[in-house]
C-alpha cells in the first residue's frame, strides 16, 4: 500500500510539472519544471526497481539536458518576455484538442486491453553488474555505436553552434573564443 501511495504521489508530481513545463509563460520556468518532471520520472524508474536507469536519467536529464536547455534559453534571449508577444500559437485550442484526441485514443487502448491490468512479478531487479556485463558482451556493438554517435553529435553541436567565420568579430572575442564558458557548455 505505501508503494501505491508513493506511485500516485510521484505520478501527480511528474504530470503536474510536465504540464507546467508546457504551459508556463517564462521559458526559464518551463525549463526548470521540465527538469523537475524528468526527476519525477527518475523516481518512477526507481520505484520500478530500475535503479541504474533512474540514476542515469537523473544524471543525464537533470544534470546535462536541463542545463543545456537553460543555457539555450539564455543564449536565445528566451527569458525576455516582450509584452504583446504571444507565447502560444493562435489556434492553441485546436492543438490541445488534437493532443486530447491522442491521449484518449491511447487511454482507451490501454484500458480496454485486459492483459495490461496484470500485476508485477516479485523480485525483478537490474543489478549493475549484470547491466555492465550485458553492455560489454551482448550489447557491445550498440554501445560502440552510441559512443560514435555521441562523439559525432558533440562535434556537430560545436560546429553548428559556433559563430560563423564570416561574421565580423571583435578582437577580444577572437582571443577569448576558446575559453568562452558558454561556448564550452553548449558544446558539451
Amino acid at each position: 500500500m505505501p508503494g501505491e501511495i508513493a506511485f500516485y504521489l510521484i505520478a501527480l508530481f511528474t504530470v503536474a510539472f510536465a504540464a507546467a513545463a508546457m504551459t508556463l509563460r517564462r521559458l526559464v520556468h518551463c525549463a526548470l519544471c521540465a527538469a523537475a518532471a524528468f526527476a519525477g520520472l527518475a523516481m518512477i524508474y526507481l520505484q520500478l526497481d530500475a535503479e541504474f536507469v533512474g540514476f542515469a536519467q537523473l544524471l543525464v536529464y537533470v544534470g546535462a539536458i536541463a542545463i543545456l536547455i537553460v543555457f539555450a534559453v539564455l543564449l536565445t534571449r528566451g527569458d525576455e518576455v516582450a509584452p504583446g508577444n504571444k507565447q502560444s500559437s493562435p489556434s492553441w485550442m485546436a492543438e490541445v484538442a488534437v493532443a486530447v484526441l491522442v491521449l484518449a485514443a491511447m487511454a482507451i487502448a490501454i484500458l480496454r486491453s485486459p492483459s495490461l491490468h496484470r500485476l508485477a512479478s516479485p523480485g525483478a531487479a537490474a543489478p549493475v553488474k549484470r547491466i555492465g556485463e550485458e553492455l560489454m558482451t551482448r550489447y557491445i556493438l550498440p554501445l560502440e555505436m552510441v559512443g560514435v554517435l555521441l562523439t559525432g553529435a558533440l562535434l556537430g553541436a560545436v560546429v553548428i553552434a559556433m559563430r560563423d567565420e564570416s561574421e565580423p568579430k571583435q578582437p577580444e572575442r577572437v582571443v577569448s573564443h576558446l575559453s568562452d564558458p558558454k561556448e564550452e557548455v553548449v558544446s558539451r
Binding site: L116, A125, G156, I160
Partner: protein
C-alpha cells in the same frame, strides 16, 4: 507492487500527450524541444514498465533499450539546442512559426 501495469501506461500516455500538446501549441523552439523530450521519456517509461511487468525481467532488454535511448536523447538535445542557437543567430528569433521559409 500492487499497482497494475495499466496505471504506468496511463501515466506514460498522459506525459506523451502533454509533451505533444506543448510541442504543437507553443511557439518557442525550445519548448517544442522540451515537449519532444517529454514524449521520448514517456516512451522510456513504457519500456521500463513493460520490462518490470514482463515475463522475463532477467533479460534486461527494456533496461538496455532505455539506457541507449537516454544516451541518444542526450545527443539529440545537444544537436537540437545547437540548431536552435544557430537559427537564433541567423534569424534573431527562436519561434518556430516564423521559420517557414520552406513554405510551398
Amino acid at each position: 507492487m500492487s499497482t497494475p501495469l495499466s496505471h504506468y501506461l496511463i501515466l506514460s500516455a498522459l506525459l506523451f500527450s502533454i509533451g505533444f500538446a506543448g510541442a504543437v501549441a507553443r511557439r518557442s523552439a525550445i519548448i517544442v524541444l522540451i515537449g519532444i523530450e517529454l514524449m521520448l521519456n514517456a516512451a522510456n517509461l513504457n519500456f521500463i514498465a513493460f520490462w518490470r511487468y514482463g515475463t522475463h525481467p532477467e533479460a534486461l532488454t527494456g533496461v538496455m533499450f532505455v539506457l541507449f535511448s537516454i544516451a541518444i536523447a542526450a545527443a539529440e538535445a545537444a544537436v537540437g539546442l545547437a540548431l536552435v542557437i544557430a537559427i537564433y543567430r541567423q534569424r534573431k528569433t527562436a519561434q518556430v512559426d516564423r521559420l517557414d521559409s520552406l513554405r510551398g
